[in-house]
Symmetry: C2
């Protein structure tokens, strides 16, 4: 247990430090080589890498529509119902985020517009690995669909049989994914960013992945002929603020939800109650016994931090400094307390709001800024699948009225041609009248 | 003149190609060294670099408030009035972009919120060089102020006398900039991203600059302890779509406005009228005679492209493929034509809307995606100075109702602890009832 008030400022920073996340030179070089190969050889390179890493017998990258349908139809009906229910909530919450265009006259005869439009083609990446992640298909596919993206390309590494799970197939079909390709890793990111014979170049790429995927997203986002990406990535994390009123078993279960994601997951409990901290620690030990992923969770919990503060205001300050991806608040008076909290990706309020609610089905997006990025990046939302542009139209009255202002500023910046573009129009209007 | 229909697809791509923008290894290494020095030595490093590049006698980085006031008060009153007028339009248009929080029940007892909050501390960079750029101070300072950022730090390279122009001082004071620092280049970006003794670390850095500034912004944006940045940068560009009805002198003046920005500026005219293209070419030559920056503009115009299309629909397709930063539309029926255009940063409609209107005073932002980024990045707006986060609160009813869905999905993904966090709560509710 860390007693916050006993720490110096430097010790406080250390207590909240995250593991170093710099990707190694080796990862960066490997990824650059993969991207180069995909750029040069297209599909052939992607198939080669996929055979090497995922499925030795793969022949075609595209999962044909009929196979997708058959797989989707084979999904257990209770899981299908759960996916439908989550889909509805995510759809409702992201539809409510639809922005409104702005049109106004800023001065007489000067009309300005801000317009929103869907990105034409988005690429979504779904990692493979031990478990399928249909929830991530929903979190990326639903807002793409709601935004009105014309094309949604999904890449995911195939299993050894050259296929995907029924869960992934069902969720992809449900979201109206345009095409599913059986490839993963840096080669999938390169294919979506640069395009190959069968995979069309996307405007923006979304989705989580391992260090190769993260590095590849970064590299393609720096190329003018590459693609935009959703946000920088880091290990997942939760910070729970709880007072003496909180239920220790609930708090423990939320810390463990985070911990089971991976051995590098970060779990932090901040409380003004020493008794609560002791009870949570005990509950963590008890609950660990029955988890299937107990090894992973136990490793992650070795880095868990239990921070004792003198007051709840101090607890809020700790959270604001850390800027957690997930912030769980289990306190007696949350309504008064919430306005003190800033810098979190998603906030879970009260005893009945476990992190898993937002991970799957409440309707909020589970793609969130990690690694302290909650200070300066947004949680994923509908707007990430759209772009804004402006329009202006001046009438003759508008340019007559605003023209001298424009000319004065252009001359102050020494830009004659800018001034001349107005002067030539004002002259034409004088001749007309 | 390029006859569009005579080109193959590859030739079309070449006709719209932009100059290569990869920063050299040397630039990248130099910038990395500057960032390292600033990280290690703070203010001392920034002052050293500033003495070396900008002002040999500089002793203090901060421009004190009294000097700023004196400079601002010394501004010519007609320029001050022009800045005020531009400020009002920009303020009005960015205020109209204020987003609305979303609150809804996605299912019974499941409340989800999307909230917007201002970034706490933004850094704005204003380049030095031959002319002061008060307009860029407005384009970055006004939305920061409207968003409600608590701290706005401005860095700009000092002149030889260790000061800034009255225009910059006036615009900075008008926007409520918190502090002005006399430094530029990669050292200014490093200082704002990492913090020094006198310059506090900012959450996000905005503003244009030369290749060192651009490279520095990119490097700090990749560091977890760095800062977010506004958007990738490239040379400025305009594409004009005009038909036989357009005024050739107006079109020429808009192409030249772009061309005078720098020798690498891109200017493209697309028209279905060969006569219009010939007239514009002649008008360009005539107008070039009287420009003070004729040398720069002439160099840029050597790379100008005049593209003849068969139809106006084809002209729209050319523009959509190029994705221009500025798109000027001077056609007989713009209302019918506009919906065909996509992929532009800012659109200028009709004969009385020169690009300089948006550069200075219409109210739209002049920080726009260049280099084809208009396909997947937004024009700068109020939302770039804010971030979004979500909140969810489930009631006992909410978790009872949605819990089985969450558990089903967690189990499908093999995440026991996620499921357990719900089960433990449902058990507690059963015991209560």
């Amino acid at each position: 247990m860390i007693i916050w008030s006993s720490l110096t400022d430097t010790e406080k920073q250390q207590a909240l430090a995250r593991p170093t996340a710099s990707s190694s030179r080796q990862t960066s070089d490997t990824v650059a080589q993969i991207i180069n190969r995909v750029e040069k050889d297209g599909d052939a390179a992607v198939i080669d890498f996929t055979r090497q890493f995922d499925c030795p017998d793969l022949t075609t990258l595209k999962l044909d529509a009929q196979t997708l349908d058959t797989l989707a139809d084979s999904l257990d009906s209770s899981v299908a119902r759960a996916i439908n229910r989550a889909y509805n909530n995510i759809h409702a919450f992201h539809s409510a985020q639809m922005p409104t265009d702005v049109t106004m006259e800023t001065s007489p005869g000067v009309r300005c517009e801000l317009k929103y439009t869907a990105l034409e083609h988005v690429g979504i990446y779904i990692p493979g690995g031990s478990a399928p992640l249909p929830s991530t298909v929903l979190m990326l596919g639903v807002p793409a669909r709601v935004a009105g993206c014309q094309r949604i390309t999904l890449c995911t590494p195939p299993n050894k049989q050259g296929s995907v799970t029924p869960e992934i197939a069902y969720a992809a079909r449900k979201c109206g994914v345009t095409e599913v390709f059986l490839c993963g890793g840096a080669q999938a990111i390169a294919a979506m960013a640069l395009g190959t014979q069968s995979i069309r170049k996307a405007d923006k790429i979304f989705g989580p992945g391992n260090s190769y995927v993260t590095e590849a997203k970064q590299q393609v986002s720096l190329r003018p002929d590459g693609a935009a990406i959703d946000m920088p990535a880091g290990p997942s994390e939760v910070l729970v603020i709880a007072d003496a009123d909180a239920n220790p078993a609930f708090v423990a279960s939320d810390l463990l939800s985070q911990a089971e994601h991976g051995p590098d997951s970060q779990a932090i409990l901040v409380s003004n109650s020493e008794a609560l901290i002791a009870d949570v620690k005990q509950a963590v030990e008890e609950q660990l016994e029955s988890l299937s992923r107990a090894d992973i969770a136990r490793t992650a919990m070795q880095n868990a931090r239990y921070i004792l503060t003198e007051t709840m205001d101090e607890a809020a300050a700790v959270s604001n400094q850390y800027a957690p991806e997930h912030l769980i608040v289990q306190t007696a008076q949350s309504a008064d307390f919430l306005p003190k909290l800033k810098n979190a990706g998603s906030v879970f309020v009260g005893p009945w709001s476990p992190e898993s609610a937002g991970d799957y089905a409440s309707g909020t997006n589970h793609v969130l800024p990690t690694y302290g990025y909650a200070k300066n990046y947004s949680s994923l939302g509908l707007l990430d699948f759209m772009r804004r542009y402006t329009i202006q139209e001046l009438s003759a009255t508008g340019i007559k009225d605003l023209g001298p202002t424009i000319m004065s500023l252009a001359q102050a910046e020494g830009l004659d041609a800018h001034s001349n573009a107005v002067a030539i129009r004002l002259d034409a209007l004088k001749e007309e009248s």
